[in-house]
Subunit: 301 residues, 2 copies
């Protein structure tokens, strides 16, 4: 771990700050047994969690989709937990810049099998926080190399737009991308349309058009995606959501990824071939700056 | 929990028997964070784990598919762990009948993100054991009602035949089946062919043919499936593996599910309509008896 960022000293588990060293969870936790959980990742500046209501709304939406009962008032407890954790980790000051993960599993339910054997057991709720590590400088100056994943996404899967902790497909896609020297993988739908990257949405710049896969393309409705779509008009760009192909990506003037924690990062090659000029493009860099300003302003608010 | 089977007192975690009450795991365990793990379930009679080498082989196959490094000698440690756990749980005697779950995650790796941030951290290995609860009598006398899941399986997904702990699709399918009054769900492939049930393979009886979806139909290669295919010849039946449809299931003389823990259970209705006579069929009951005898004989061996 030498040279890496410091590891957290605390985590928040079911209402309490506890030492990060653990142990914290039962092996019977359905998050561990079955990936039977959901999560959100977000950013916090100056102790303020950016777009927390949007993330908590999406968390509840994911819970509903998996029939996980979230107790009433959980949102308020999570908001307080984030404040306590940022404070304990020294990330709540004016310069604090943190990434936060909220993980909720169906809970530690004894017995075996896919159906919960006992009713009334509360979900497990965990909050973790880390100092934000800036992206490697090359990600901004050179951009990201992305590769198409061999894993296809089914737009008709009822869980496809939920942020579940059943993430083996995504882990596999990232390992697969690394093997071919790529920084990230882009999923295609079973019909061959562009979907999303493993932790980010995809945007293409084509003239004055800012195009992104529609919600029907098996994507998570990213909060930063919404922000970029709203920004496009102010930046004199025409935002479109639709069905895009790998050819559209290969032939775009610029392309970028966006996510809550990493913000906006240029895509400069796809499956080994340059996208646009092969350098980060001007629209991408403007979008990145607008997003970072939004995060800073949230922290100041 | 009143009326249910007794809960385990011990679990085996990373080489040691520990109290089942826990806690055992760090929140950073990638099994909890990302469903980044694999598992096997099997049965043990008289302290003897049935088909343990086959299950350990499939565990290693699943680990390879997810790039999880299993340390050398892990199989022997798991075999010893099963013996110790069955002994501690009072399930090792001549009448002991247990179901066992082996769960392996990529380990408690600090940091966030899909790519493991640190190399060299060992996987988390957990063994659990429960007394076998016989199926509800109605499952044998009336048979199971199964329903087609809305979740489709992609035969080209490189993880589709691995037993990963990213099981949200399966949990959802079971909850969905329960909502329509079914006992289990059957997945179809994206091309509309029969695949498998949530924890079992599917067989159809058509005259003297015993038909089951081919390995290419996005199924787990079940150890009991292999056993049934081998049994067919001895029972005067012609075993076939191929592409079957929901119509084939609806029109079969008999149908059944098979899995390591529950053995063979009749399917007597599909999407609300009777299969065959709507009663457990003679071939199904013979197959079940042959399988149970095999388990008893393994225990006696």
């Amino acid at each position: 771990m030498t040279g890496g960022p410091p590891e957290p000293r605390n985590v928040w588990v079911d209402g309490r700050l506890v030492p990060a060293s653990g142990p914290h969870l039962s092996v019977t936790d359905r998050g561990f047994q079955l990936g039977d959980g959901i999560f959100e990742t977000l950013r916090a500046r100056g102790g303020h969690a950016t777009e927390l209501p949007e993330h908590l709304l999406r968390l509840r939406h994911s819970a509903d989709g998996l029939d996980i009962d979230l107790p009433p008032g959980l949102e308020e407890r999570i908001a307080a937990g984030i404040r306590d954790l940022l404070e304990a980790e020294g990330l709540a000051g004016p310069d604090g810049d943190a990434s936060i993960r909220i993980t909720v599993s169906r809970g530690a339910i004894p017995g075996r099998g896919l159906l919960p054997t006992v009713a009334g057991i509360p979900p497990t709720v965990v909050i973790q926080a880390w100092p934000v590590t800036p992206p490697p400088p090359s990600h901004l100056t050179e951009g990201l190399h992305v590769a198409a994943s061999t894993i296809r996404r089914d737009p008709e899967n009822p869980l496809v737009a939920l942020k579940t902790t059943s993430r083996a497909d995504y882990v596999h896609a990232r390992l697969e991308a690394r093997r071919v020297g790529a920084d990230d993988a882009v999923f295609l739908t079973i019909d061959g349309y562009l979907s999303e990257a493993t932790t980010a949405n995809v945007f293409l710049v084509r003239g004055d058009e800012l195009a992104t896969p529609a919600l029907a393309c098996a994507i998570l409705p990213g909060t930063t995606r919404s922000l970029v779509l709203a920004w496009a008009g102010r930046a004199g760009l025409r935002a479109t959501e639709g069905w895009l192909t790998t050819r559209d990506l290969a032939e775009a003037d610029e392309a970028f990824l966006c996510s809550s924690v990493a913000g906006i990062l240029p895509i400069t090659s796809f499956d080994g071939r340059p996208v646009g000029t092969g350098r980060p493009g001007p629209v991408t860099l403007r979008a990145r700056e607008a997003r970072e300003a939004f995060i800073r302003d949230s922290g100041d608010a």
